[in-house]
């Protein structure tokens, strides 16, 4: 086929944007933003086009590209999307496009900021479209590493005061500072990467086919021991990025300290890299291992749901609340996948999308509130609804999706997960999952009430609503959240074509 390499274009457009910004736009902040908006806009338009052009009847991997890189070792640049990865590409596009607008006001070193952000996005796209595990790993690292600089330089420092018997340790490590958060996040994720790398090599050598291609490895049959241990390695490795308990604590610190666009991208998309990795590589390549260890994945998922929600409720810092809500919702993603049912896995993938958009919206809003109020302390706020009605409305929509209200994307995801849970081998998973939605309703509405309702707080003056480019982010994200909630078929019809074959390899047709 002599077609345009669309996936390569989508993947590399932000990288080209990053290079352009570094080399041409020094000291011209407006040009920096323009380049960022145009290159991510290009990726967005192309991903929407791919979404529309994807042949749902044929299903499978489409828009296939292959270019041998190291033939003797079987490493090649191999791209393709199926219904699941396509939805993730779409999610990435929406989030980064909105993220560029949401961080329109970053003033310090905006050139480097946008360049790093765009390089990171290329990594994210790369993971979603790569079919070669070696290249996938390279992209994965590209997506993780710029985060260190982005948080360390442009982050904000929270107000955590170490107490208790371990206080000396916290003082030693510098808890609460942005440098601490950046270091913690990077170390955690690299720790996970090591597991992934080991897993990839184990598969490569065990298959003996001299190929890193996903399609070749899929055809190989691995012995039970390999299945079990490599699945475990992938679960821990990718799972760290998905925030599995008890390896989740990098996420609240990291997300709370990160600048707006980075929190949006990280909680919105990067955590999905982890979940996507577990589903695509773990479930996809190691069906028997997945079936054997599903009980672990689902049970930890349940812990995540309830534990994350309760932790969120205990926070007094707005960004930490949202960050812990991600821990809770990512639990639902893992739980849905662990049910190994059509409904559950569809719910899991849909939740990746729904949570990505929702948490992106949340972090955009928190960024706006922080920028105008210069505080993240919930208890000091109050009555903001009168002066920032637009922000209040968008926050309400995000909250409703978070607690799974129908007509928002969150509901569809949760319902499918519930349905899957009750049809799985572990019916009791349904109860923590449902309890989690109630706890979410408690903390999210409590926060919304405290910030936006009630009489105006005396601590703040001259607050104002979102302006100009900030509206772009809010409107896009809110509209997507509601649209996919009302017409879930937009995503599910696609996702189903990818999940059904995947499941048939695990539990039989």
């Amino acid at each position: 086929m002599t077609r345009l390499p669309v996936l390569s274009l989508i993947t590399w457009a932000p990288f080209v944007g990053a290079l352009l910004i570094m080399f041409t736009a020094r000291h011209r902040p407006r040009a920096v933003r323009l380049i960022a908006a145009v290159t991510t806009g290009l990726s967005t338009v192309l991903s929407v086009w791919v979404y529309a052009a994807y042949d749902r009847e044929a299903a499978g991997f489409q828009f296939y590209e292959k270019l041998a890189l190291v033939p003797p070792l079987g490493i090649s640049y191999e791209l393709g999307v199926d219904g699941m990865s396509l939805l993730m590409v779409l999610l990435t596009s929406v989030i980064i496009f909105a993220g560029v607008f949401a961080s329109w006001t970053v003033a310090v070193r905006s050139q480097e900021f946008y360049a790093l952000l765009l390089a990171l996005v290329t990594g994210v796209y790369g993971v979603f479209v790569s079919l070669d595990l070696f290249v996938l790993f390279l992209f994965y690292e590209l997506a993780v590493l710029p985060m260190y600089l982005l948080i360390g330089i442009w982050g904000s420092t929270g107000e955590v005061r170490p107490r208790g018997i371990f206080a000396w340790a916290y003082r030693e490590t510098g808890v609460g500072t942005k440098e601490y958060a950046a270091m913690k996040l990077t170390l955690y994720l690299l720790f996970g990467s090591a597991f992934i790398l080991v897993g990839v090599f184990a598969l490569y050598f065990s298959a003996g086919s001299a190929s890193f291609s996903f399609l070749d490895l899929e055809a190989a049959a691995f012995p039970p021991a390999v299945q079990r241990w490599v699945f475990l390695a992938f679960y821990v490795g990718f799972g760290i990025l998905a925030g599995i308990w008890p390896l989740h604590t990098w996420s609240p610190d990291g997300h709370a300290s990160a600048p707006t666009a980075v929190s949006m991208l990280h909680a919105g998309v990067l955590m999905k890299l982890g979940a996507y990795g577990v589903v695509r590589v773990g479930l996809g390549l190691l069906p028997d291992g997945a079936a054997e260890l599903a009980w672990l994945v689902g049970t930890i998922g349940c812990v995540n749901v309830v534990y994350g929600a309760l932790s969120a409720m205990a926070q007094t810092d707005l960004k930490y609340v949202i960050a812990y809500s991600s821990v809770s919702h990512m639990g639902l993603v893992m739980l849905g996948a662990a049910t190994l049912t059509e409904a559950g896995l569809n719910g899991s993938v849909f939740q990746m999308f729904a949570h990505g958009i929702m948490t992106g919206l949340f972090f955009a809003l928190v960024g706006l509130v922080y920028e105008k109020a210069h505080s993240r302390e919930i208890r000091r706020m109050g009555g903001f609804g009168r002066v920032m009605p637009g922000v209040a409305t968008a926050f309400t929509v995000a909250s409703l999706s978070s607690l799974g209200l129908p007509a928002t994307a969150g509901f569809v995801a949760e319902l499918l997960t519930f349905m899957g849970a009750w049809r799985s081998d572990h019916v009791w998973w349904l109860f923590p999952a449902v309890a989690g939605t109630f706890l979410t309703a408690v903390y999210v509405l409590r926060v919304a009430k405290q910030i936006f309702w009630g009489p105006p707080s005396p601590h703040f003056h001259h607050l104002e609503d979102a302006r100009g480019p900030e509206w772009v982010a809010l409107v896009i994200l809110t509209a997507v959240l509601v649209l996919f909630g009302m017409v879930p078929g937009l995503a599910l019809a696609l996702v189903d074509t990818a999940t059904v074959p995947l499941l048939s390899r695990i539990v039989g047709p």
Partner: protein, 607 residues
Amino acid sequence: MRLIVWLPLLVLALPFASFLLLAVVAPLRRRGRGAAAASIAAIAVAFAAALVIWREGFRVTATWAWLPGDGGPMGTVGLLVDPLANAMLVLVTLVSLLVQVYSLGYLRDEPAPALGRYYVYQSLFAFSMLGLVLAPSFLQMFVFWELVGLCSYLLIGYWYDRPSAARAAVKAFWITKLGDLGFVIGIVMLWAATGTFEFEALFAKAQEHALAIPALGTIMVLIYLGAVGKSAQFPLHVWLPDAMEGPTPVSALIHAATMVTAGVYLMARVEPLFALVPDVLVLVGWVGAFTALLAATMACVEDDIKRVLAYSTVSQLGYMMTAAGAGAADAGVFHLLTHGVFKALLFLGAGAVIHAAGTNDVFRMGGLFRAMPQTGVVFLVGTLALAGVPPLAGFYSKEAVLAGVWEAGMRGPFLMLALTALLTAFYMFRVVIVAFFGRAPAAGHPHEPGWAMRGPLWLLAALTVLLGLRFATGGGGHHGPGWLAPLSVSLAGAGVALAWAMYQRGALDPARVAATFPLSVLDAMARRRYGLDALYAGLYRGFILAFSRLIGWIDRYLVDGVLNVLSAGTLRGGDALRRMQSGRAQDYVYGVAFGVLFVMIWAQWWR
């Protein structure tokens, strides 16, 4: 598409279109009255269409795929139009229309953007409630069930800068959500067992005795829990009185006539399924009757006119649910429809009173009849209907409920309902006598409201009377034993007489009555709302919040603490090891020497 399908779709689409228009087009919304006009026009046409559907007796089921799945959709949305839905359609569109017109007068002094926001919510509510009524499946019913809950939350919190309104809105959401947890678990379990959410498919299975799944009783109790939350049944009724923080027209529409009756509608809609589990129905009946009695006692000691009406709504919902529990869901729906009309009338009348007097406290009103006779007359009509005085509409529906319960052989619930009938007449006339005929000087400058408010009042009053006369001449629906009608009337009469003796005549001093022994205990408990609100507040603070603080502490200081101790240990360890590299040659020579010595000893002794 055929008329029979698209006309119901139109009823549904009109309020949605008006919602979308007002939500998206900000300039129109900020105009306030422009927004009101759009919303009222939409609901008026929807009402006309609903009337046609009802008159023609449409019956149709249509579904479309919503949640795609391999081998057929996992969930569908669509329409289920039948006589039950048709009657509800008329009630919902009628009351919505009247309330939206009335609100123009009631919220006259609101700033234009706030008024626009109000009509956005109103349109969304009309759409959601109609979607609930037309739902052909549990899934769609749950979707709209939650959406009406959202509208309730938004409208209770309409004056969002009042702390009490903010609290009440959140409380209403949480408490109803608690019931909805049961609902969602129930329908998911039912889906897992049968593979469908659709009513007709489930009914067909029920008829073929294919629904003999062991957990059906549990499932139906769980689904019933949703109705307990939404229809304010004991013990989840505590949100409804607080919901009175919303504007009064909202209370009339959502918290009296329509949304809160969704639970009763659900029971009637899936009656064939509940019929398979008679034990669950007995539970429904007892809880309903207990709710009716409990709420009536609380209404007797309440001084806030809206809260009296709210408790009375809880009490009447108890009636309807008891009927459903007795297997007479049609009687419950009958009462639902007449109650929808006269309770909306009462709330709107109370709104006119509050508007004029500037207070909710009946004991600060007094003598309002002289100042606002029209409102007084229509309020009296509503009160008589609620008390169950013939020939008004409430008499016939209440009698149908009592007859149904009696014939089901539920003696306990019947007695509780009969006692409730007495109390109903008592507390309603207590309000009427004190507020309209009391000797205390009225607060403020009472006056008749404008036509936007008076029109809906007269219309509803006329409907209450006409419906009653229609049942009276048409023989009505009462099929109970012959002694039932006289009993019912004399209970109402006794209640009225008691109120008259205590509050008008002065023959009995209310304070002394309340202080006599068995009543004094009851009085104190009812005034504390039987401690239920305190119980929930305690559970929330002492259990959920405390537990969350514990988990938050564990997360920060144990889970994360272990990690920080490890990393701090690494830092300190590295610091200590650093000293080994001192840079002095002697140290290194010592090191090498000891190393060699160690290897030699090891080779010698431990080989």
